[in-house]
Amino acid sequence: MSFMLCVCIFLPCICLALSIITLAVTVRYVRKVFFNRNDSH
């Protein structure tokens, strides 16, 4: 299998997952810092 094809599929999939995680972490931070909502419980 082509090395570049692997890179073109594998790394973007990691980044897409990371993008969703980052968005979730950011939303949690915004709720906590700007709207005083604590999601810890």
């Binding site: 090395f3 073109c8 990371l18 950011t26 931070y29 700007f34």
Partner: protein
């Protein structure tokens, strides 16, 4: 550029959304809240905001462009940035976070070397941040003007102005929050560009062959000294520049700062490989390019459907804005803490007012300077070669708690700055940023020794 109404709607919605966010987060509880987000930023947000801050046009369009013409060769240089960020995470970010009551690098220098070093560090920090912001404003303005068909000055004003709104209202915590969102958009749209490109390539073995032959021919035509120079630049040029230092100081704990930096360093390896890959496969998809720096934009234009192309341009604007707002926020905090005369005994509220005023003024200044700024890579290299020899040696010395003296720090800053500026201005050694950094570092060490000797003599007298 090949944009349609749906793309323009996506771009307009993004900018309007950011402005609404700027208004929603206008409440600020004091200067520590404004400048360091109350030192309560969790590791995940230190990571996201640090990535948002360092992912500028150079580390996206620049890498894809270089890979388009020279394959994976220059990854060797960029990886030194990754190593540097991890090392800062392991050794320096936790030490920086340990300083209590410190808001800027000038504050650290004040503890180690006194007020003169603090003011000099503040001056260099503010100048560097405004210079960086102007260079980025020009790069972002050029992208926006090309995408939506408006004039360059207007595009520069929009890119900078929208970011200034939320940096001005909410300070570091709103900058960090928007960086998280912007980083997320950048990741999603860069990933989508590569995934949409996969079915467009019909002969993958030839792409592999292309990558190897490009890298090999670039290796044969690039002198080793050029590669070593790049390694030095990427290892030292951006080390603990003020916006990165702010994130280390703003971490919820030493561990949060440490983890945020290490994760950001590790992530940069994935990002650099991805951008280089995008540059290489552009050769197989898009028509031959006159300007290699447009490789990533050409790839996105060729593979993304309309609507997602709009999101891609939003991501490019986000790449610029996230870095730019970090710089303007850092510059305003450095101005308030390090450069105002000591006789100004400011209340907490007036410090916030000063910082907000400085954010606005520096934003306007960045817009005007952007109209005369050099191209992105040239501008960044000039900033790197001034920062590394000027503040970095004395800062690292202080962070490792080594014996210091008042004039050693001042001597290091003055000699290092004078050395690198002289190389850049006179063009000795080709005016190369690498030479400027190396000469500046040697002179910085000499300056520190002279300053140390002066202190010793003064104590004896």
């Amino acid at each position: 550029m090949n944009t349609e109404t749906i793309d323009l709607v996506v771009i307009a919605a993004y900018f309007i959304g950011l402005m609404i966010f700027g208004v929603a987060v206008r409440r600020t509880r004091g200067f520590q809240d404004y400048s360091l987000a109350r030192q309560s930023v969790p590791a995940g947000m230190v990571f996201a905001s640090l990535c948002g801050a360092y992912l500028g046009p150079g580390y996206s369009l620049g890498i894809a462009g270089k890979a388009y013409s020279s394959g994976f060769l220059l990854l060797a240089g960029w990886f030194f940035f990754s190593i540097q960020t991890c090392l800062v995470g392991i050794w320096m970010a936790p030490r920086l976070r340990r300083f209590s009551g410190v808001y800027t690098l000038g504050g650290v220098m004040a503890r180690a070397y006194g007020s003169v070093a603090e003011r000099l560090t503040g001056l260099v920090s503010v100048g560097l941040c405004i210079g960086f912001a102007a260079v980025l404003a020009k790069a972002g303005g050029t992208i926006l003007a090309g995408a939506v068909g408006i004039s360059l000055p207007l595009a520069i004003a929009i890119i900078t102005g929208v970011g200034v709104i939320y940096a001005w209202t909410g300070g570091l915590k709103s900058v960090i929050a928007t960086e998280g969102i912007q980083f997320s958009i950048v990741l999603a749209s860069a990933s989508a560009t590569l995934l949409f490109a996969v079915p467009k390539v019909h002969d993958w073995p030839s792409v592999d062959h292309n990558a190897i032959s490009l890298t090999r021919s670039a290796w044969e035509s690039t002198p080793l000294i050029t590669l070593l120079g790049m390694a030095v630049l990427f290892f030292l040029g951006e080390t603990l520049i003020p916006p990165y230092a702010n994130r280390a100081l703003a971490g919820a704990s030493e561990g949060a700062s440490k983890k945020g930096f290490i994760w950001a360093g590790l992530f940069s390896v994935i990002w650099f490989v991805m951008m280089a890959t995008a540059g290489i496969i552009t050769r197989s998809i898009a028509a031959p390019l006159g300007n290699a720096d447009s490789a990533l934009i050409s790839l996105a234009t060729a593979v993304l459907p309309h609507g997602m192309l709009g999101l891609f341009f939003v991501a490019l604007a986000a790449i610029v804005m996230s870095t730019q707002e970090s710089l303007l926020n850092a510059a305003s905090v450095c101005m308030t803490r390090d450069l105002l005369p000591p006789s100004y005994r400011l209340t907490d509220r007036s410090q916030v007012l000063w910082a907000r005023g400085a954010t606005l003024c520096f934003g306007v200044l960045a817009v005007f300077l952007a109209l005369h700024a050099p191209e992105i890579i040239d501008g960044l290299l000039i900033c790197y070669s001034i920062w590394a020899p000027t503040v970095l040696p004395a800062l690292v010395w202080a962070l490792f708690d080594l014996p210091t003296s008042r004039w050693a720090g001042v001597g290091s800053i003055l000699f290092g700055g004078a050395g690198s500026s002289a190389i850049l201005l006179t063009g000795v050694g080709g005016g190369s940023p690498t030479v400027a950094i190396l000469v500046g570092l040697v002179l910085s060490a000499i300056g520190a020794l002279i300053g140390y000797a002066i202190d010793k003599i003064r104590r004896k007298l």
